[in-house]
Symmetry: C2
Subunit: 361 residues, 2 copies
Amino acid sequence: MATTIPVPLPQSPYQVQIAPGGLAEIASHLAPLGLGQKIMVVSNPEIYDHYGEVVIQALQRAGYEVFQHLIPAGETHKTLASINELYDVAFQANLERNSTLLALGGGVIGDMTGFGAATWLRGINFVQVPTSLLAMVDASIGGKTGVNHPQGKNLIGAFYQPRLVYIDPTVLKTLPEREFRAGMAEVIKYGVIWDPELFTALEEANDLSSIDHLAPALLTQIIQRSCQAKVDVVSQDEKEAGLRAILNYGHTVGHGVESLTGYGVINHGEAVAIGMEAAAKIAHYLELCDQDLGDRQRQLLLKTKLPTEIPPSLAVEDLLASLLHDKKVKAGKVRFILPTAIGQVIMSDAVTGEVIKATVL
Amino acid sequence: MATTIPVPLPQSPYQVQIAPGGLAEIASHLAPLGLGQKIMVVSNPEIYDHYGEVVIQALQRAGYEVFQHLIPAGETHKTLASINELYDVAFQANLERNSTLLALGGGVIGDMTGFGAATWLRGINFVQVPTSLLAMVDASIGGKTGVNHPQGKNLIGAFYQPRLVYIDPTVLKTLPEREFRAGMAEVIKYGVIWDPELFTALEEANDLSSIDHLAPALLTQIIQRSCQAKVDVVSQDEKEAGLRAILNYGHTVGHGVESLTGYGVINHGEAVAIGMEAAAKIAHYLELCDQDLGDRQRQLLLKTKLPTEIPPSLAVEDLLASLLHDKKVKAGKVRFILPTAIGQVIMSDAVTGEVIKATVL
């Protein structure tokens, strides 16, 4: 039943497995990994209410000693203080080097759990069970883990690969629609930067704004193609030395918008949608692509009921200052990923503050 | 002038360079690494008073933009809170992904700076300039970084390799004698676990308790052979999956003694000396080696004026409980590294609480 996408990293290969309705069968997919006896499930209260029991019973049936730790939902808890609490719980459970932290949740839970796994006892096993579309197609794959610094998102973190990413798309039925749409922003992103067939498949759908409007087979296909796109990119560039930067399409302006409006007001996917619109406008302004690309992209974003405009409340100077503090800045230049065709982007350091002002502010 | 020891790790090869009197020439050794413009020197006030200016001027002369951050000396500051302050300073300096943290200090500074480098922006460049004997021959090589948890030493951390380890043995002239002796404990350890020639070279010296009693050439030789031993081991086992465990010779009991007496009362090297004596006694009790090995080892420890006995103030139950919480515990069994001959050790899970009580308590 499960579709397997191998992630062929030289030092730490692993698999993404997509198994519709397969949550209760997770233990059989863990068995080949040779994990130690102890597994700590890390989740948030809402997700745990829905799926905690299924996962924990499945693990216990397979003979694991299971612990749990809940972190309140939301980006505001993605802090070093939360990690410190996770350390305390890991100590209480007497986790050993072959023990496992299993992230059951969205991107925030995954990033924090991964950072905890990366840094407890200098690295213990880590398994991702993403429950949001965003986490399934993006955050859970590629080994980026971390927490926010008061001054910026994800400034504290590590590259640390999971042993397994286990995706059951049917859990999305309990995902709030706004979060589903946020995940669709990243799906659309993969269409623009990597996979023209995914893009046209999305164009053929009537409505992308809710899981209720998507056929299960299309949903699985979308997740699968998106995961494959992410895997293709990160397996060629594990530590973000080059190619991986294209995944930041939409994220340059997106991060700025997200941090300036305060984390949580505009969510990550919405910010990326705004950032993609901005990047397409900049690309057209710089004559890198035609108007049609931006129009088609905007149609998908609108069909998903995602925002495309920078909130008018944002001050121009603040956004520019924020862009200059982004961690992808090199020697003071802002790096943008810009589309040249559907399925194709380039990296540009040619985007000055003037261009940004002229096009998107 | 500099002796180079390559560390041939597949993903992150680097060099240990030993350059007596070469501190002011450090920049020429950084040049081939292609580091970014910004270097932050992390040190403690005492070390910085001695060597900060030399290093910073050398870096500035070579055109680097140099920042500095001082952390008060001592194991009590090796905390997540100190790392959090380091993050703040890294943010203020607007460090970028190609920026560098340079640890100028002993093991505590090296471990913390390395962990900061491993986890800021998911990993920036890291250079080790160890100023204690312990850091030169042990802590600076092999990529172990981290901080203490209130419940145990080094529970929080990451494997993260430096780009360069740069050792100027002449800086040891300002090292307190007690710390010099602590470093000698690890040197003696390498003789026992790996290098019989190093062991006999140490036996030929009259007094190992002070740098004043060692000829500069012998000191350099000791550092070089010790570094080579450490490199030999870690390059065969980067992530401590097997062989590297032999480096923990003396550390099982040592960690327990160190944590129970309160960090800083007995220092790390002294605790390791006590632990090596304990391990030799256990090995003899289990008929793994003859009495002579323990005697010869004890002679070296005494010639270095290192302690060999567990402080009588320690409660037996507390020490046993502490051993069972050590992170090298697997499935409830305490792992010991035990000598079978000079230059040779084995790993044993056969050491029960009863054996420990019968031999060393």
